[in-house]
């Protein structure tokens, strides 16, 4: 966890994910409630015109959440917004990264905007977006 005030240009420790297994996709279907068979059933993927199953977009976003909450306590997270720009094939190994792009006052609080990205080993960007976090730990009594 970071304990100093956030500054523009600060890099978050990247989060490297091991290749995504079919087991992970099955567990995520159950945990997330998204039972769309295209992510867990090869037959359904074929019917949809895909060569294989692929990861839920929200799995990649959950990894971004992990990166952020490993860096600042979750109660400092204000917003998280991503665009899904490419699918994540099964067995892909995503890497999450983030950088403080701006520090600004919003709703009476100093907040940092973090650019966040998920990329695969071949350079494909699968998710990109931004998070906002409170730039300082909450003061006692607030």
């Amino acid at each position: 966890m970071i304990t100093t005030p956030l500054q523009v240009g600060d890099q978050l420790p990247p989060l490297e994910i091991a290749p995504i297994s079919r087991t992970t996709l099955a567990l995520f279907a159950g945990g997330s409630g998204d039972h769309n068979p295209v992510h867990i059933d090869l037959d359904a993927a074929h019917t949809a015109g895909m060569d294989d199953v692929f990861a839920h977009g929200m799995l990649g976003m959950a990894y971004l959440g992990r990166m952020l909450t490993a860096w600042v306590p979750q109660d400092r997270l204000r917003t998280l917004h991503v665009r899904f720009t490419a699918i994540t094939p099964v067995h892909a190994a995503p890497v999450c990264s983030g950088m403080v792009a701006e520090v600004h006052e919003q709703h009476g609080e100093l907040r940092a905007t973090i650019q966040v990205t998920v990329q695969l080993a071949d350079g494909t960007t699968t998710l990109s977006g931004h998070a906002t976090v409170a730039a300082y730990p909450p003061m006692k009594g607030m």
Binding site: A18, T24, F28, G30, G31, D34, A48, Q74, L80, F84
Partner: protein, 152 residues
């Protein structure tokens, strides 16, 4: 194209979910989240939390708490196999914890046609509240409906 601007304002089914420790641990396991605060109640309490916290993106699970989670698309005449998740956003007001019962209301807030009709975009907006009606979070998403046209 299958849709029209008339879909804006469509109210989506209200859903509810009581956050349960086992479900949160399953979600944590699926995403490789091993920090004790998210899986061990004693560690969560020692860190000042009343119970296991819901990780930041877990709240999207509420939209699936209906008998047909893709039914809203089918009801609009959209084949779910043609749909992609385009964007997702969360705005947080309070953290959510195991033991809480949360309710999600939602509506279709925008509609757009892109690429000369090859894609339609549906924007949804959801509000998550606790049993007292206090805001927990707002969610937004963009659902892309693909209509690939055959080249002449």
């Amino acid at each position: 194209m299958a849709l029209s601007p008339d879909v804006v304002g469509t109210v989506l089914p209200t859903t509810a979910l009581r956050l349960e420790r086992g479900r949160l641990r399953l979600f944590a396991k699926a995403i490789g989240l091993v920090e004790p605060v998210y899986v061990d109640v004693a560690a969560a309490r020692a860190a000042g939390h009343p119970d296991l916290p819901a990780p930041p993106t877990f709240l999207a699970a509420l939209q699936h708490e209906v008998p047909r989670s893709l039914g809203w698309l089918e009801d609009l005449g959209v084949d779910p196999a043609r749909v992609l998740h385009g964007e997702q956003s969360f705005t947080y007001h309070q953290m959510a914890y195991a033991g809480q019962k949360l309710t999600m209301t939602g509506r279709i807030s925008d509609y757009a046609v892109k690429k000369g009709g090859d894609m339609e975009l549906l924007t949804r907006h959801f509000q998550v509240t606790d049993t007292n009606g206090a805001p927990i979070a707002e969610l937004g998403d963009v659902v892309v409906v693909r209509h690939p046209q055959v080249s002449p």
